[in-house]
Symmetry: C5
Subunit: 99 residues, 5 copies
């Protein structure tokens, strides 16, 4: 998966019918340590995330497999990252088996 930040939203009125209706978010991926070259993708968002939210994205046929019917989604937001918690626990906490 990739971590990234939602930087916008796009709409496509003229579209193929197999693109499911729902939010299409523009995500700047944390692809490298060099943020100036952040990769931009458009991901389907079933979680109702907001601009600026840090998210986890899965790509390719794995993203499409989440839907029950054949569709055209190759990038899917699968979680919203708990960032504050993350920094505390990586100092204070032991490896937490399956939070």
């Amino acid at each position: 998966m990739k971590a990234g930040t939602i930087v916008g939203r796009v709409w496509a009125t003229k579209r193929l019918s197999k693109l499911p209706s729902g939010a299409l978010m523009e995500v700047a991926l944390d692809d490298t340590s060099d943020t100036s070259s952040a990769e931009r993708i458009i991901a389907f968002d079933p979680l109702g995330c907001a601009e600026g939210e840090r998210v986890l994205v899965t790509q390719g046929s794995v993203a499409r497999g989440w839907f029950k019917d054949a569709n055209l989604v190759d990038a899917l937001i699968i979680g919203s990252l708990d960032e504050e918690v993350q920094k505390q626990t990586s100092k204070s906490g032991q490896r937490r088996a399956a939070r």
Copy 2:
């Protein structure tokens, strides 16, 4: 998915028979914030888009899965982006159906 801009069209008379007939568009992807290194792909266009149009592209086996028969397409234009609308609504908060 990736957002991009159609920058041209290509033809291939000498081709494998499983490449479906139809428009093959050259698309410069909005891949990074650095536009000088925009990735170029050739995408099949079932929507009849024009040069300069902003489009949404899906890639890999997800693109091939749109066709009923076995074929060779690994990049497909699945929508045309409503850019003017996008900027207005991201301020006014209209059309947030799926949030």
Copy 3:
């Protein structure tokens, strides 16, 4: 798909038996507008293309799916680009069958 130019050919006498016999061409992809960083791939060529020829390449499981039997090809030349024609027609508007 990606457009590219054939820049060489490779041979592999020591190989797995599921790599089909046939031409293996080295292709420099038109990946970005910056040609100095052109990506190089090795693509199977069922069309009999020559060095210097401009070609269209499909990748991944879509390339493998072209073959009847299980095989190891993840990049396939699927067409030869009609470049001269392309530039004329994009001005005169001929051959716009699928628009």
Copy 4:
């Protein structure tokens, strides 16, 4: 596969139910010889690795295929690299089982 180093861990309380519970590790991949541009991915860790550990990661539908049920994982830690051993054996020629 890719080799990389675990550089952190992320949590996602708000998530799709098909993302399996378990550790999600941030991995800086040894992608190029230029370490300043190391690609960052989030990989599912079934092996209980620690921060700083060198790991082997598989990606895409191959990662998803490891799970019994449909899921959303497109990057999976599949091994922990024996680095000290590697350097000794590449000199002394031990453990060359598969050569």
Copy 5:
């Protein structure tokens, strides 16, 4: 496919059981004309190649499909390149149908 050069070998004693036993080679891919940014991958080697050998690698689900059983390999060495022969024949020889 990608051409590359074997630059090392890795071992992973702590591993998932579905990673088949056998050699795991580090390969520097001929990814671009700029060799300083060569992409590094870890590929399974069923051919018994040596360090410094020039090889052909297939990736993704196509690599996994070579194995009879479910497994975790997403990069596979499928051939060893005949480099000397290649340079001679690209000058002296005509396109050789299926060497």
